[in-house]
């Protein structure tokens, strides 16, 4: 089944409580996905610094030592801070170079995402506990997307949890299942994408990453995805300055969107949105099938 939520703040009014509101929304979707959960938070956006979120599950990595080696290898300063098994690297170096170096040189680690604003956290377990463990409620920022998972297409693992990164500052959560992911995975691998799981959503993320790398805008990439991805999906896609929602042409997987002057929210069910301030004044609707809804501050 799975539950997805997204909250994009159109104004600064609720930025200090972005995490608290997202956690309330996420918890409401527990019934839809009690296996595992994850969230991406966008905040503290700085042009001169890239953040990389790295998961080191079940291993005791000495990140001080790793950063020292990384600084020598790429000739630039790298700071790190840890949130349990997630490590955030902060650097003025090129994010793509750092990501590649970490993947090649730090075994048993998975780079969950990178960008100027994004941080991604995910884990197996009850969504409320996952949110508490990684301090979602205390986070501030401009927008967040989150996911509760009931696995159907691949194993219940942290790596198989959402959100999946689709490139710099871009990530994806998914409710549904894709039926042509094995074929698409082979095609994308031949185009240079690499995959870390057997998960169908990772293929959708890889597809968007490929199209964005080829120069498509997000809307162009999503329009193409509607033609090429076969299956059921409601996607919520986070970008550096906004988010987008898209459903397959049949649109069986639920989605509801609400908008006020201060925020736009999407969720699998209204009860997640019911937690938000001034919801009584919100315009609320179900997004049309095969239509791209996107918001940004730009």
């Amino acid at each position: 089944m799975c539950g997805i939520v997204g909250l994009f703040l159109k104004t600064q009014r609720h930025e200090s409580e972005l995490g608290r509101l997202t956690a309330l929304m996420l918890e409401q979707m527990t019934d839809r996905g009690p296996d595992s959960a994850g969230f991406a938070v966008y905040g503290d956006d700085r042009d001169d610094r890239t953040k990389l979120t790295v998961l080191s599950e079940g291993v005791d990595t000495d990140w001080g030592e790793v950063c020292a080696r990384l600084e020598v290898a790429l000739d630039g300063a790298v700071a790190h801070r840890m949130v349990l098994d997630h490590t955030i690297l902060e650097t003025a170096l090129d994010g793509v170079d750092v990501r590649r170096w970490v993947i090649q040189n730090v075994p048993d680690s998975t780079v969950l995402g990178s960008g100027h604003a994004i941080e991604i956290y995910k884990a197996v377990g009850d969504p409320r506990l996952v949110a508490e463990r990684y301090g979602l409620a205390e986070r501030t920022g401009t927008h967040a997307i989150a996911h509760t998972r009931m696995a159907t297409e691949s194993a219940v693992t942290t790596a198989g949890s959402h959100p999946f990164s689709t490139g710099e500052d871009t990530c994806l959560v998914h409710n549904g299942s894709l039926s042509n992911h094995n074929l698409l995975r082979e095609i994308l691998e031949s185009k240079g994408e690499s995959f870390q799981t057997e998960n169908d959503t990772e293929v959708a993320a890889g597809y968007l990453a490929w199209r964005l790398r080829e120069g498509d805008t997000l809307v162009e990439a999503l329009e193409r995805a509607i033609d090429e991805l076969d299956g059921f999906y409601t996607f919520c896609i986070g970008t550096r300055d906004g988010f987008a929602v898209v459903r397959d042409p049949i649109a069986c997987k639920p989605a509801v969107v609400a908008e006020t002057d201060d925020w736009v929210a999407m969720a699998s069910e209204y009860r997640a949105i019911a937690q938000l301030p001034d919801v009584a004044d919100a315009e609320i609707w179900e997004p049309d099938p095969a239509k791209i809804f996107a918001w940004s501050r730009a």
Binding site: P254, V256, E269, Y270, R271, E286, P289
Partner: protein, 237 residues
């Protein structure tokens, strides 16, 4: 008037009280998008829900009059048998699905598959309906004051569809039909029942061309080809 507060009572408690009621009027406060609220009622009670509800509100309703002052999620009044269910805001997908009788009124928009497989219910939507509305509709009336999305009335049997605005496209075997005096008479009464202000003469009528009703020998080759293709893909049939 009895007030049932979902911020203090559980959904099961509230539904149990409503389902046991034989008469009277009830107000449900703080619904917060709860699912399956006021389901399975079978008495002439009045229920007003003060706020938005989640999935399957007032499902299987019989006799009761349910008013939701807010929006409703997926499956509003699913399989309604009699009575009425009214929503002041928008309704999610599959509103009035498989309804056998009674009246479903949505003052805002209803989303995809409104009235799917309806079997006698009357559904009145003040705004627009989404794609695949009245899919496989068998009986009853769908009245849409606004526009209808793509594939209206796909594979329809005998329901009557009235649309005041535009139709994005008609589904398979759904065609426009003449509006006769009995249709104007029906619309006039139905719109009054629904509390809608519209002129019956502004509606166009759609219904079944009845071309998909029966097996036709000319179709046998197409059916055989489809079956062969399924075999080649190793699918179960």
């Amino acid at each position: 008037m009895t007030v049932l507060d979902l911020s203090t009572g559980t959904l099961r408690e509230v539904n149990s009280i409503l389902q046991a009621a034989e008469s009277g009027d009830y107000v449900v406060a703080h619904p917060q998008g709860a699912h399956a609220l006021a389901c399975g009622l079978d008495a002439a009670v009045g229920v007003r829900v003060d706020g938005p509800v989640g999935y399957y509100c007032a499902g299987m309703n019989q006799q009761a009059t349910v008013l939701v002052d807010g929006n409703a999620g997926t499956g509003l009044a699913e399989n309604i048998m009699s009575g009425s269910v009214t929503v002041t805001g928008n309704a999610g997908q599959s509103a009035g699905a498989t309804g056998h009788g009674g009246l479903v009124v949505v003052h805002g928009n209803a989303s995809a598959r409104c009235g799917i497989s309806m079997k006698g219910v009357n559904i009145v939507v003040g705004g627009n309906v989404g794609h695949m509305s009245a899919f496989m509709a068998q009986s009853g009336n769908l009245v849409v004051l606004g526009d209808a999305g793509a594939d209206l009335g796909d594979s329809i049997y005998e329901a009557r569809l009235f649309v005041g605005g535009s139709v994005a496209s008609l589904g398979a075997d759904c065609v426009e039909k003449e509006v006769r005096p009995e249709h104007l008479e029906f619309l006039a009464g139905c719109l009054v029942d629904a509390g809608m202000d519209a002129d019956p003469s502004d509606f166009r009528r759609y219904g079944s061309a009845r071309a998909l009703y029966n097996f036709h020998p000319d179709d046998v080759d197409a059916i055989r080809d489809a079956a062969g293709a399924a075999d080649n893909r190793g699918e179960d049939r």
